[in-house]
């Protein structure tokens, strides 16, 4: 892409600085004014409260990060000429974009913002622990800092940073036009960004933020021990993030299968993309498990269920659910960095990757499945059976084998090459070294007897910081330097890069290596008074300060290089992966636009090389791709357009506001209105989204691409099946949790005592009859009968509504007998499980309303009725779930 820009770059640099103030700048100052007022109010509210210092420091963090964002994003509208904004403003571009590159940049910048938040919290903790008996933070502040540091760094910094690169480079590496569902991609981004703000906002609410550690061990997270809307909001934000991640995983899986460009067979997929595929497969199956755990936790806090407060479920159930997710999560943050290392090593060693297939097989056949079989090693001191502990010990030690294969392959790759010691390569090597140290410590932790000392100690802290900060972040830094020329068209400063590498490596080891010697110091203690712990802690704090400070070299380097760096050649590293090939002149030629006003340039960071788009002619949404291509190819000036949509940001904003209201429900006068406003916004944007679809405002035609192994499965169907796979895990977790509680409960009502079988049978028959009705609707439209389809959809809708009615009738019956979720374990599991299922039914009903309206407007034809088929699959899946739920609560 920037091959073409390059000729333009000189001109762009000379472009006059904007004289008139653009509207975006006005908006910025308006936001600034709001923030000043909000800050003043917050400071006033929190002045003199116990958490005041933490609150104030968070204000400082947010302000600092906003300014950082301003200076990064501010660039385009200063550097570019007036022409640039004739069609689209800077603000609209970044807020409404659905382009994968733009969203990739947004992910990266937002991840750096959250790294700043989490990093400041870490510096507070290190300051507190620098000397014994310190009083810099009080225990509550420290617990909040330790929890939010962990959560933010793992979920809002590490993974999103990796997915920023994935967004930008996976489509390029597989020659796809974009991700399979661009609007869902934007939705993922905005829910991610807002969910983090919710978690940070929770600091300011009564009760403070989550303060039970990132592992959220129950029952410390219950209302009894962690009261207030603050923690609830934190959990709600976390849940929203899981939703974002699930959407994102489905999007990437479908993209990788169905959107590969012509000629890109599986064997031609570059390593980074492979590792992203492995990561999203793990995400698809790991996160729904945590999602149901979070649902249970939030239900415990808001609806009075007793999943984690009763002793039947309780702490050990949470341990199981959390770590079943938690261990795959370790690899979810690690594998993208491994992918980056696999890209960087061969390019700078000038030698092809050794054992590419061995690496792929080791990862996909061993790491991915085994990561779901090792979670018990986090529970070696719990009273689970010793035999099970030994089984988990075996599988945990076994999972180090594929990593051995990978590391050896890397070492053989660099042996005998011609190594160019540039910054990306150095960071890749640093990542490997640190991973070896951290990984070997991991084998120590896999042993039950050694856990008798290490569990819950700083040895664990040292281990996972070596693998997460060291291996993952250094690997992603390598990716950052490696792809920086591609993203900005400029070279970074090599000296600053090497300085950043050297200081990072030294201070990182100074920070974390002493922790290996603190084998008997408990994690997460606010202060200590043991002489032998003093020196390692002091060294770690010094290392922490240096490590934190040197990260600004990276930021400074990038900001400076974006502005003044030497123009980058097309392929500065002589790499041979597709993302370095010159891109097509027209990036996206499809009918995804409403009006010409929505045409926006799409590029990487867009600094100094924004293409002039004044010549962009109006493009009718109905024109074919070919026509669009010919009309817009006016001379060398490139018009790169992308589909924009206001829906994702508004929808995620609405959901976030609604969650804020939900968390504050105990203050009815405050919580309810906020909830109502947020829900209204969310519902309106969902309706708007449906309206867009109904009118084909935003449509991406499916290209003829490589799709093996799903040559006959459409993009939408693959997405639907991925969603169902993740939903299977969600319900499996819920039902396993129910079964766990049931086995542990001293008593459980026999069939037909609590829930009348007759009632259950009627509703079961009704729901099971709606599946054939949904099939008949599909059958009718296949024959071309819209009327038949509409009638059968009507029947399905009626049956589904009656079913939900029966469920609510039974709820009402129970309530009238004073049976509430908090009454017993049996009722807790019943209300929760049936409630989640009834919500699934309700979503199906809403989809049917959409289908019926679209059908009435003639939206479905004999050849075009994919949505009806997708709905049928989803609806039957919900029926199939009910079979198990019915059996569990009514028959067993």
């Amino acid at each position: 892409m920037f091959l073409i820009y390059k000729s333009k770059m000189g001109e762009e640099e000379l472009a006059p600085v904007v004289k008139s103030r653009p509207s975006s700048q006005t908006a910025f100052y308006a936001i600034l004014a709001v923030l000043v007022v909000a800050t003043a109010v917050l400071v006033d509210l929190n002045y003199g409260t116990p958490a005041e210092r933490l609150v104030f420091s968070e204000v400082v963090i947010i302000w600092g990060a906003l300014l950082l964002l301003y200076f990064i994003f501010n660039r385009p509208f200063i550097a570019t000429s007036e022409r640039f904004r004739k069609t689209e403003s800077w603000v609209k571009r970044w807020l409404y974009t659905t382009n994968h590159k733009d969203i990739g940049i947004l992910y990266i910048v937002t991840a750096l913002f959250y790294a700043f938040v989490g990093g400041m919290l870490a510096e507070f903790m290190r300051t507190q622990l620098a000397v014994p008996q310190n009083h810099f933070l009080n225990p509550l502040e420290y617990n909040e800092a330790v929890s939010i540091h962990g959560l933010v760094m793992i979920f809002w910094f590490l993974s999103p940073l990796a997915f920023g690169f994935a967004n930008y480079f996976v489509p390029l590496q597989i020659k796809a036009k974009d991700l399979a569902f661009p609007r869902l991609n934007a939705l993922s981004y905005w829910t991610y960004a807002f969910s983090g703000l919710l978690v940070v906002l929770a600091f300011f609410l009564p009760g403070g933020d989550i303060n039970g550690g990132w592992t959220l061990y129950s029952p410390l997270t219950s209302n009894t021990f962690m009261p207030g809307p603050g923690p609830t909001l934190g959990f709600a934000g976390f849940t929203l993030l899981i939703g974002s991640i699930t959407i994102s995983s489905i999007n990437f899986i479908v993209t990788l299968v169905a959107e590969r460009g012509p000629g890109v067979t599986w064997s031609k997929i570059p390593m980074f993309t492979w590792f992203i595929l492995f990561t999203v497969v793990q995400m698809l199956f790991a996160f729904p498990d945590l999602l149901s755990g979070m649902f249970m936790l939030i239900a415990d806090r808001l609806a009075g269920t007793i999943f984690f407060t009763s002793t039947a479920g309780g702490a050990l159930l949470w341990d199981n659910i959390f770590w079943f997710f938690g261990h795959p999560e370790v690899y979810i943050v690690l594998l993208p960095a491994f992918g980056a290392i696999c890209e960087v090593l061969p390019v700078f060693a000038r030698k092809r990757l050794f054992g590419k297939n061995a690496i792929l097989v080791a990862t996909f056949a061993l790491v991915v499945p085994f990561s779901f079989l090792v979670w018990g090693h986090h529970m070696f001191t719990t009273p689970i059976p010793p035999t099970e502990k030994m089984a988990f010990m075996v599988s945990t030690m076994g999972i180090s084998l594929p990593f051995d294969v990978i590391v050896i392959a890397w070492l053989i790759t660099i042996t005998g090459g011609s190594l160019r010691l540039k910054t990306p390569f150095l960071f890749a090597l640093a990542s490997i070294v640190v991973f070896i140290i951290g990984g070997i410590a991991g084998v120590f932790l896999a042993s039950v007897p050694l856990d008798m000392l290490f569990r819950g100690s700083y040895f664990v802290v040292a281990h996972f910081h070596y693998v997460m900060v060291g291996a993952s972040v250094f690997g992603l830094f390598a990716a950052f330097y490696y792809w920086f020329p591609k993203m900005t068209g400029r070279m970074y400063n090599e000296f600053l890069g090497k300085l950043h590498f050297a200081l990072s490596m030294i201070s990182f080891n100074l920070l974390y290596f002493p922790m290996y010697f603190l084998m008997d110091m408990p994690r997460r203690i606010v202060t200590y008074n043991v002489p032998s712990w003093t020196l390692p802690n002091l060294l770690a704090t010094i290392g922490g300060y240096i490590f934190g400070a040197v990260q600004f070299i990276l930021v400074a380097n990038f900001i400076q290089s974006m502005r003044n760096g030497a123009p980058a050649p097309a392929n500065p590293w002589d790499a041979d992966t597709p993302e370095w090939e010159p891109e097509q002149v027209l990036e996206e030629v499809n009918g995804g636009f409403t009006t010409p006003a929505k045409i926006t340039p799409s590029l990487g960071l867009g600094v100094g090389n924004s293409p002039p788009i004044a010549k962009a002619p109006a493009v009718d949404a109905l024109r074919s791709a070919q026509q669009a291509a010919t009309t817009t190819q006016a001379g060398p000036s490139v018009v790169v357009r992308h589909h924009v949509s206001t829906r994702p940001i508004v929808l995620s904003g609405g959901i976030s506001i609604a969650l804020l209201g939900l968390a504050m429900l105990q203050y009815a006068y405050l919580g309810l209105p906020i909830l109502a406003i947020g829900a209204t916004i969310a519902v309106m944007s969902i309706v708007g989204w449906a309206w867009d679809d109904m009118n084909s405002v935003f449509r991406i035609p499916e290209g003829i691409t490589e799709k093996w192994p799903f040559t006959q499965v459409s993009r939408l169907k693959l997405g639907m099946w991925s969603l169902i796979f993740s939903d299977v895990i969600l319900f499996a977790t819920i039902l396993t949790g129910d079964a766990y509680i049931r086995i542990n409960s001293p008593t459980w009502p026999a069939p037909n005592t609590l829930h009348p079988i007759v009632l259950g049978t009627i509703s079961t028959f009704i729901l099971l009859s709606s599946s054939p009705a949904a099939y008949m609707a599909l059958d009718s439209i296949r024959k071309g009968s819209t009327r038949g389809m509409l009638s059968w959809l009507g029947v399905t809708l009626a049956l589904g509504a009656i079913f939900d009615g029966f469920e609510f009738y039974e709820w009402w019956q129970l309530f009238s007998q004073h049976m509430y979720p908090s009454t017993s374990n049996a009722l807790t599991t019943y209300f929760f499980t049936v409630g989640i299922h009834a919500t699934h039914v309700l979503i199906g009903l809403l989809v049917m309303v959409y289908l019926i309206i679209k059908g009435l407007r003639g939206g479905f034809t004999k050849s075009n009725h994919e949505a009806v088929e997708m709905f049928g699959i989803y609806w039957s899946f919900v029926d199939a779930l009910w079979v198990f739920i019915f059996a569990f609560f009514f028959l067993l």
């Binding site: 061990y217 410390l220 000038r350 010990m393 042996t415 011609s418 070294v433 140290i437 120590f444």
Partner: protein, 218 residues
């Protein structure tokens, strides 16, 4: 740690300590060996094969198929190391869950926010101080009254979770009398008093213990 090299020092150590240290030392030797080999290889290769900045026209070399031997060799070594580690770890684990027969004392431990309650068979209970006789197998049955705690005695290398509604058992046997201030700690975040959830451990001669124990009997 040099005194662990003499056999007599090992004999005097409590059995849980010997169990831990023999396992730990084995892992340490294997782990440091593996780390030195791999990191040494990496540093050596980096130094040996580096080229000057600005070297031009470097073709991509093939991946080095003749290195298969080296790959298999390292894989076999790693599997061997892991197998040794695994076999010893399984043995050491079985040791942990089989308390030796003989005279024993069963003490019930309740964790609470924020402290430890030790209840003896005679009904006497103490908060914050565990007194046990030497050369006796001590069995701790641990549970919690409120949230998740973890009882750990680092000097004896034993640890067990205190979970509401669940019972965790562990055993240890101390050979020498000693007094350890804050010898028992909580190892799982349990609220704002987590850092201060400590208890003292006193090991006294059996006769002295019997005297004390009968004096507190109800």
């Amino acid at each position: 740690m040099s005194h662990y090299l003499t056999l007599s020092a090992w004999v005097l150590q409590p059995p849980t300590v010997v169990n831990f240290l023999s396992e730990y030392n084995l892992f340490l030797v294997l782990g440091i060996g593996a780390a030195v080999l791999t990191i040494g290889w990496l540093v050596y290769a980096t130094v040996k094969y580096r080229v000057k900045d600005g070297s031009k026209d470097l073709e991509m070399k093939p991946s080095g198929k003749n290195d298969n031997l080296r790959a298999w060799l390292t894989a076999v070594i790693t599997i061997g190391i892991l197998a040794v580690a695994l076999i010893t770890a399984v043995q050491a684990t079985q040791f942990l869950y089989n308390a030796p027969p003989g005279p024993d004392l069963v003490i019930t431990v309740y964790g609470f926010q924020w402290g430890w309650n030790f209840t003896y068979p005679n009904g006497y209970s103490d908060i914050g101080h565990l007194i046990v006789p030497a050369n006796t197998t001590i069995i701790l049955n641990i549970t919690s009254k409120d949230v998740f705690h973890t009882l750990g005695i680092p000097s004896l290398y034993v640890k067990g979770d205190a979970i509401p509604g669940q019972w965790t058992s562990l055993w240890f046997k101390v050979t020498q009398t000693e007094n350890i201030t804050d010898g028992i700690r909580c190892y799982e975040l349990c609220g704002i008093g987590h850092y201060d959830m400590v208890a003292n451990l006193s090991v006294v001669p059996q006769a002295q213990f019997q005297e004390w124990y009968s004096s507190v009997s109800k």
